[in-house]
Subunit: 207 residues, 2 copies
DNA sequence: GTCTATATAGGGATAGAC
DNA sequence: GTCTATCCCTATATAGAC
């Protein structure tokens, strides 16, 4: 792997492990066994590195958000969608942990993240509307719109919430499954018995 | 006002306005027209100042969370409760904007905030249960428990969500009213027609 | 209680040799 | 592309005079 790419990989790992504010350009260079000067040959500054990582993140999350087709006509579609989202959230979790600070520091990031968040709401809405069309979900338009926003908000901040509320020792993967099922539970009141059963089945398997 | 208290007041204002990571002890001293040395006479370090501010915050939020009695037997009780919570959130908004970073840096803060968050869930649950007992809310125990957690999560992260999603020019107070009604809307599907009407009335008045 | 002066340390970033 | 050396700047924190 080229040095330029290794910087991104190493920085992402350190940011996730230690938190972006606690990782300096020197740390990154140290961890890679290259000199700080070398790092600055490849990237203009620290924010430039963050910006490049963000572009990777943006591509991944957008690829999930543009294909909201319901396949199995059941809550499994929503479950799959949420799994894909949470997977990306975990991979780039440093962004979510320091979201406001990063948005205030890097103007482009603010604009782009805002757009992604709107897209999240919209995609959730489309899935819910499709499920409603298939009589899987039974709720009026206002409720569905509200649920979509709630899904966007919760999938964005669940990670922080779980850090705040759970013990540090608690298994990382469990926290996420917990988040996904928390969101599914929000939709549960608007499902018929069969779909509710399926939810319980999913919970039994993965929680 | 004594210098010791003025530090707290000034620091809180600057933290909220500029973000805690962007405010140094020198900035605070500068703003107060005292010397940095003077500031360090009153407080051991920056985290000590933050900790003292947090103790104020904790006292205020706990006073709200220990008195969850339903008075009017309607959604107005929940509305009032959320208003009180959001008011405190705004007053100490720097805490919420950099929550994870602060929790990781100040161990006491982590423990205490975790406790407050649990208390928030519990208080929301108690209000919902009382409303259920009075036939104002109509939902099973699982749904109510889920709603309570959702209320705690949303009231904690709404501020960040609104920063992320709304234009910077958008009126601060409007953002918060929006958050409160977003939460009330989550409960709306479980209300009878009369309570839903009251919600619409509240929305008309304040949104 | 308050000030001035300063020690210490660390991070961001660049110049110039190889 | 990479390294060494270094500069600049800023933040935290302390010592000692008043």
């Amino acid at each position: 792997m080229k040095t330029k790419d290794r910087v991104i990989v190493t920085a992402l790992r350190l940011f996730n492990e230690e938190g972006e504010p606690n990782v300096t350009t020197n740390h990154i260079a140290d961890e890679m066994d290259i000199s700080p000067g070398n790092l600055y040959y490849h990237y203009k500054n620290k924010d430039d590195i963050i910006w490049q990582i963000f572009l990777q993140y943006e591509a991944k999350i957008k690829s999930i958000l543009v294909t909201p087709t319901v396949e199995s006509a059941s809550m499994k579609d929503m479950w799959l969608f949420l799994n894909l989202i949470f997977e990306v959230v975990v991979e780039y979790r440093f962004l979510y942990r320091n979201l406001i600070q990063l948005m205030n520091r890097i103007a482009f990031l603010k604009r782009h993240f805002r757009h992604i968040l709107a897209l999240k709401s919209q995609t959730a809405l489309e899935i819910l509307q499709q499920l409603k069309g298939l009589d899987v979900v039974n709720a009026d338009a206002v409720t569905i719109g509200n649920l979509a926003d709630q899904i966007a908000l919760t999938s964005t901040f669940w990670l922080n919430y779980s850090i705040a509320i759970f013990d540090d020792g608690f298994d990382e993967q469990k926290k996420l499954s917990h988040g996904i099922f928390h969101i599914l539970q929000m939709i549960a009141p608007f499902l018929d018995q069969k779909q509710k059963k399926m939810l319980q089945e999913l919970a039994r398997q993965f929680l």
